[in-house]
């Protein structure tokens, strides 16, 4: 290890640690709305990190992420929820929420495994569009299978608790830290933070080790990866599994964040939002996915909250651009700008600010799916 890499690693560690301290202390200061927004952001980060493993790291375009989120969310509410419903009756096992959470992750993974034979057969864009089909078929399934989903309006999500410690609902045992009562929002914040940190840690470990290197080479050159001894099909299937499990966990948190789940929430739009997160944040980077997720999922809420004091946004009901439209313009525009000028996304920008060398865009990887001619004249020279 060279000195510079140790030094940057130390700086990185200190920054991360400081960030963690701030995040840990935040519930003492900020209001419920922001804590709830934060919890939604943590959920989105987990989902985005998972999608980034698949799309950013391995180069497998998937628009099915909303479907796997739905599987996670629905499994959680079915396994841990009680039977109920008025207009449409639905079932439930009423098992402890932690069982539901694990089941949600496992079922989403299973769904990914079931889809992966199709995924393995398809390349690039065909996979992208086939996975788009999964979102529509999944939504149809959920709307039809009302005994699980509660139908169009959905069903309530059971509050989470862990060995008698409640993260919502009854708020038992009563807890106050430094005079601040720790209610549902505060508790969920810590739950989200812990799971999110764990998910990011796991993913960044993965990227820096044997499986991660194999996945990145699958993206850059499938042929080279296989010739180096990587079983490409197997790795594609495995990363699909892992990505779906991340989505499943994100789905469980999504259900906890809303307090209910409805099939409608898991539309194509959600998949597109997740894609936007990882593109804006930076394909293939864990920190980037986190930044992108925070940006995309919090932006509409932040704009909405401050719409009164932002000059270009009008209050709801007035002619002009309202907050959610402004958010759509902003992240649509951000996607365009990022792809055009900073393919590394927010992560790339951060790296550039630190003045670290960055590979030029036109450098290899030479993709095997593009029609690189079979003679050496193009080797290394950009088109």
């Amino acid at each position: 290890m060279s000195d510079t890499s140790t030094a940057t690693r130390l700086v990185k560690g200190v920054v991360l640690l400081a960030l963690l301290v701030v995040l840990l202390a935040l519930p003492l200061y900020v209001e419920e709305f922001w804590l709830r927004t934060g919890f939604a952001v943590f959920a989105a980060i987990i989902g985005a990190v998972g999608l980034n493993l698949l799309v950013g790291t391995t180069g497998q375009l998937s628009l099915a992420h909303a479907f796997f989120l739905a599987v996670g969310a629905l499994t959680y509410v079915y396994v841990s929820g009680d039977p109920g419903g008025s207009a449409i009756e639905y079932g439930g096992f009423g098992l402890p929420p932690i069982v539901g959470m694990v089941a949600g992750v496992v079922m989403a993974g299973l769904a990914g495994v079931l889809f992966s034979p199709i995924a393995a057969r398809l390349r690039g864009i065909y996979l992208g569009v086939a996975s788009l089909g999964l979102v529509f078929i999944g939504q149809h399934l959920l709307n039809t299978w009302t005994s699980v989903s509660g139908g169009f309006n959905g069903r309530l999500a059971p509050a989470f608790d862990l060995f008698g410690f409640s993260f919502g609902g009854n708020e038992e045992p009563y807890l106050a830290v430094l005079g601040v009562p720790f209610g549902q929002a505060e508790r969920l914040w810590y739950l989200g933070l812990a799971l999110c940190a764990l998910a990011c840690w796991f993913a960044s470990n993965l990227l820096r080790s044997r499986p991660g290197r194999a996945l990145q080479n699958v993206r850059d050159s499938e042929v080279a990866a296989s010739v180096m001894g990587v079983n490409v099909q197997e790795y594609k299937a495995k990363v699909f599994l892992v990505s779906s499990m991340y989505a499943g966990l994100a789905g469980v948190l999504y259900a906890l964040s809303i307090g209910s789940v409805a099939p409608e929430s898991f539309s194509l739009l959600l998949s597109v939002q997740y894609l936007a997160m990882i593109v804006l944040g930076g394909l293939g980077s864990v920190g980037g996915a986190a930044m992108g997720a925070a940006f995309v999922s919090a932006l509409p809420l932040v704009l909405q909250q401050y719409s009164g004091s932002l000059p270009f946004i009008v209050e709801p009901g007035q002619p002009g651009i309202v907050a959610s439209q402004a958010a759509a313009f902003l992240y649509g525009g951000a996607i365009v700008l990022v792809v055009m000028f900073e393919p590394g996304g927010l992560a790339g920008l951060a790296r550039r600010l630190k003045r670290q060398p960055r590979p030029p865009q036109e450098s290899p990887p030479v993709s095997t799916t593009s029609s690189a001619p079979a003679d050496s004249s193009s080797g290394g020279t950009p088109r």
Binding site: I125, L132, L283, A328, Q361
Partner: protein, 296 residues
């Protein structure tokens, strides 16, 4: 039997509209290796322009402006964004078009607001009877015009210098460039043609029997995407066949809902995707798409 014929005719007219959009997907893919997700907003843009202008300047002039305007918008996107990113990963380009789509869609949605804009077709809500089966004039015209346009496209594709250049470029971009084919020009014309096709699709997708221009017609292009894929993303003939298959399958599934009730109510909506996934399972590159050979 009458119901069947009626559904078939309706499905074909719907399929003709899908085919126009799907053809746009395919042309763009062949010429610039971009899978565009912005056909929906181009279609909406075309329909919006026509509807907004048909009152002040008359329908025919509005149609002309709408088509030219949409084509211009497509060319603008190609020139300003796509052409500067030659060789970028396919995924980045696809996501770029999603971003552009989001911007256009949001703006037009904002402009339409809560209205339903009337396209102002001179044929209005008229209907014609073909072999005892009724169909709105608008949809009958859709079949005719789509037929003519697609026919003209195939002739141009086969014989015009652009068509030849484009096929060469799709075969091997590098070699084509070495032989003096201007890839930028090929790509620009492809986007132009796709813009025209999207606007024409918008023109017919919005009139009777649908009420008029609402942001919801953006979703029409979403059904055309599986049409392009199941035909084979690099096959122009495949786009036509795929469009018709999706159109007819959707109409049949909606019309014979009772017979397929075990698949759940409202199954018609997901038919395009079910058909597509089924086809892809058997033929991973679509019905007429070429399988790519790995070259190292």
């Amino acid at each position: 039997m009458n119901q069947f014929l009626s559904l078939l005719l309706n499905g074909l007219s719907l399929g003709a509209i899908y085919a126009l959009i799907a053809l746009g997907f395919v042309i763009i893919f062949k010429a610039s290796e971009v899978v565009t997700f912005m056909q929906g907003s181009l279609l909406l843009l075309g329909a919006y322009l026509i509807a907004r202008l048909s009152e002040p300047i008359g329908f025919w002039a509005a149609a002309a402006v709408g088509i030219v305007g949409t084509a211009a918008a497509a060319v603008l996107v190609e020139r300003l964004l796509i052409s500067r990113l030659r060789g970028a990963p396919v995924i980045s380009l696809a996501i770029l078009t999603i971003g552009v789509d989001l911007i256009i869609l949001t703006e037009i949605t904002r402009r339409i607001g809560s209205d339903i804009l009337n396209v102002g077709h001179p044929w209005g809500g008229d209907a014609v009877s073909i072999g005892g089966v009724g169909i709105t004039t608008n949809r009958a015209l859709a079949i005719v015009v789509a037929g003519i346009l697609i026919g003209a496209f195939f002739i141009a594709f086969k014989f015009s210098s652009w068509g030849i250049a484009m096929r060469a470029a799709a075969e091997d971009g590098e070699a084509a460039a070495l032989m003096g084919i201007r890839l930028g020009w090929v790509s620009m014309v492809a986007w132009l043609v796709a813009g025209v096709l999207a606007a024409v699709a918008g023109l017919f997708a919005t009139g009777s029997p649908t009420p008029g221009v609402t942001p919801a017609i953006w979703a029409v292009a979403l059904a055309a995407l599986p049409a392009a894929i199941l035909g084979g993303l690099d096959s122009t003939g495949g786009a036509l066949v795929g469009g018709l298959i999706i159109g007819v399958a959707t109409a049949m599934a909606a019309g014979y809902q009772d017979q397929i009730a075990f698949l759940g109510r409202g199954f018609g909506e997901v038919v395009p995707y079910v058909v597509m996934v089924a086809v892809l399972l058997v033929r991973p590159s679509g019905l007429f798409g070429t399988r790519d050979v790995t070259r190292v």
